[in-house]
């Protein structure tokens, strides 16, 4: 009986295993191998961490991603709870507009940042009109940050709204009856209830920011983020083993961050992976 069950199970998971091996494990193994057998051998991995250019790209990518994640969680957390709680004219339209960036490739997002903060962008026009000089931020860290926030918010806001919907209003009323101020209610009732959703959506937000390419490529910023460095090494310098090593490092850091989140959130945020 038990053997038949196992047998059936094996047949059923075979497609998943085949796809997993062909499109995930084999390329990954190949990538790791390529990184190790280049001209400099295994030291390609060491070089990624010791070469100041690569290392600074790694650090700025992580810093950017963390900043984007934290900012997005604050903005989308507040907006998500607000949108879930309040019914007003145009609410549905607003929600569907907020999810619009999900449909845009990174290139479009980058293009929009240029139109906003580029040399002839809206902000620049406005600031020079006001006699404050031409403000241009599209090609700096702020430009990247703006673009990343833009495509991160919808990913978080929908998860937060779903979690806020399940919040029992009696919990807040109970806290208030016990003397809790609005700030206490946020700290002791709302945030704990949203904890899993914040961790899960924050992890996805972080991973997306770490790997985002299109926006950074379009903005061609002076700040080097890791995906751009990988692209440059691979296509322009044909430095394939370094590109591979950088890819593996990028993957490991993102994977470790997600794993840490999962451990932190317990089983409840399993969706974070």
């Amino acid at each position: 009986m038990r053997n038949t069950e196992n047998y059936k199970l094996l047949i059923m998971v075979t497609p998943a295993i085949a796809v997993g091996v062909a499109f995930f494990l084999l390329p990954l193994a190949r990538l790791a191998l390529v990184g190790a057998v280049g001209p400099s051998g295994l030291s390609a991995y060491v070089e990624v961490l010791t070469n100041p250019n690569y290392f600074s790209a790694l650090v700025s990518t992580i810093v950017l991603s963390v900043a984007v994640t934290v900012t997005t969680l604050v903005i989308a957390g507040i907006a998500g709870v607000f949108l879930e709680r309040n019914r007003f004219f145009g609410r549905e339209t607003l929600i569907s507009m907020l999810t619009l960036p999900l449909a845009f490739p990174g290139v479009v997002v980058g293009f929009m940042v240029i139109m906003l903060g580029g040399r002839t962008g809206l902000v620049g026009e406005l600031s020079s009109f006001l006699g404050l000089g031409r403000v241009v931020f599209a090609y700096s860290l702020i430009g990247l940050f703006t673009g990343y926030i833009y495509f991160s918010i919808p990913r978080v806001i929908l998860t937060i709204m779903a979690a806020a919907e399940k919040l029992d209003p009696a919990l807040e009323e109970a806290a208030r009856s016990l003397g809790a101020s609005p700030w206490h209610v946020v700290r002791d009732v709302i945030l704990p209830a949203l904890r899993s959703a914040l961790i899960a959506s924050g992890a996805i937000c972080f991973a997306t920011s770490m790997g985002a390419f299109g926006t950074a490529f379009t903005l061609a910023t002076d700040i080097k983020v890791l995906p751009i460095v990988i692209y440059t090494e691979f296509t322009l310098m044909a430095n394939i083993s370094t590109a591979a090593a950088l890819s593996i490092v990028l993957g490991i850091i993102t994977w470790a961050a997600l794993a840490a989140c999962r451990a932190f959130a317990g089983a409840t945020a399993a969706a974070a992976g």
């Binding site: 029992d168 208030r176 009856s177 016990l178 809790a180």
Partner: protein, 348 residues
């Protein structure tokens, strides 16, 4: 925990209209003495919970309404500054805190010292007999345990008023009965002013010093459980609180004539009349003593009493309850007596 005087509550002209136009509560005046326990009883959607939430400060009354705790006007105070304890049907325990932390929460936000907090939590755990649960997560507790924790949490910070919104509705019958007795004893020993919302008349009878029966946003009668039961002011109250028989008869020569016989009538009047009486006010007597005669159509053995459906007394079936141990047969004829004082004549 000393039995202090308790806070008097006074509502003046409190109505509540929601933003969608629903009128949940008509203009209501109500006074509660310090330490009094009042039950708001009524069908679902009658406005009893709205009334409780107005007292709590979770809803503000329409302009013109005022709420006083003793002589203090609390109308403009939000709930967190009214110092009320609340118990909810859904328990509303904080899932991110254990039992101890839940109970201590009110003390914590009020800035009590850790020593005072620990002492108070200990007292509460003892009082509610849940000492062994102190470190449990609330999700691991049964319904009855959760409601004990919720009660402990509500009274830990010594509120001026305790407000309970259908606290037993989510529990099974046996537990409901037990906790109802515990709550009754607890409230009276605390001497705290309390308002208790329920749709269950049994609960209302057992717990309330006074019952306010509410229908369509209006308090239709207030009185002790006995007054409400034996002297309902309207047929709505009569029907909502317990079972009531309605019989149509004719008044003639100081008697009420029914199809099954005649009974003395002391309330005056002539002609056709509708009289009401409780099932336990009709006594089953011998053939010789009987005023009314009928036939048993159905019998229900309820353990502590037997309920009979009797035909032939009036135009429809009459419900009679007796605590006699004897068994009845369907088709058996029975004789009944009803004392004149047990007959009600409500005009609405």
């Amino acid at each position: 925990m000393s039995a202090k005087g308790g806070t008097a509550i006074r509502l003046v002209g409190c109505a509540k209209t929601f933003t969608n136009g629903t009128r949940a509560l008509e203009r209501t005046a109500l006074e509660l003495k310090g330490g009094e326990i009042i039950v708001f009883l009524g069908p679902s959607g009658c406005g009893k919970t709205t009334l409780l939430r107005v007292i709590a400060g979770l809803e503000s009354p329409d302009p013109g309404g005022r709420i006083f705790f003793d002589d203090e006007d609390v109308t403009e105070l939000p709930i967190e500054r009214r110092n009320v304890g609340m118990v909810f049907q859904s328990y509303a325990l904080f899932p991110n805190m254990n039992v101890e932390e839940n109970i201590a929460y009110g003390l914590k936000v009020h800035g009590a010292t850790p020593q005072h907090r620990a002492k108070r939590v200990e007292e509460m755990l003892q009082m509610m007999q849940i000492g062994e649960l102190r470190l449990r997560r609330v999700t691991e507790l049964s319904g009855g345990q959760r409601q004990r924790v919720a009660l402990a949490r509500a009274i830990a910070a010594q509120p001026r008023v305790l407000l309970l919104d259908e606290p037993l509705t989510a529990l099974d019958a046996l537990l409901r009965e037990r906790l109802r007795i515990e709550i009754d004893v607890l409230l009276h020993s605390l001497g705290i002013t309390a308002a208790y919302v329920t749709h269950d008349q049994g609960e209302a009878m057992a717990i309330g010093d006074r019952i306010a029966v509410i229908n369509r946003g209006t308090i239709v009668q207030t009185g002790t459980p006995r007054e409400i039961y034996y002297h309902p002011a309207s047929s709505f109250v009569a029907d909502f609180v317990g079972t009531m028989n309605r019989v149509n008869g004719t008044l003639r020569d100081g008697s009420l004539e029914l199809p099954g016989g005649r009974i003395p009538w002391t309330q005056g009047g002539t002609g056709a009349v509708q009289a009401l009486f409780r099932p336990n006010d009709a006594r089953i007597v011998t053939e010789a003593e009987a005023q009314l005669r009928g036939v048993v159509e159905q019998q229900f053995f309820l353990g502590d009493r037997t309920r009979l459906h009797v035909s032939g007394i009036a135009d429809g079936l009459v419900v009679v309850e007796t605590s006699e141990h004897r068994e009845f047969r369907v088709g058996q004829s029975v004789g009944l007596r009803i004392e004149p004082g047990a007959l009600l004549n409500l005009r609405d």
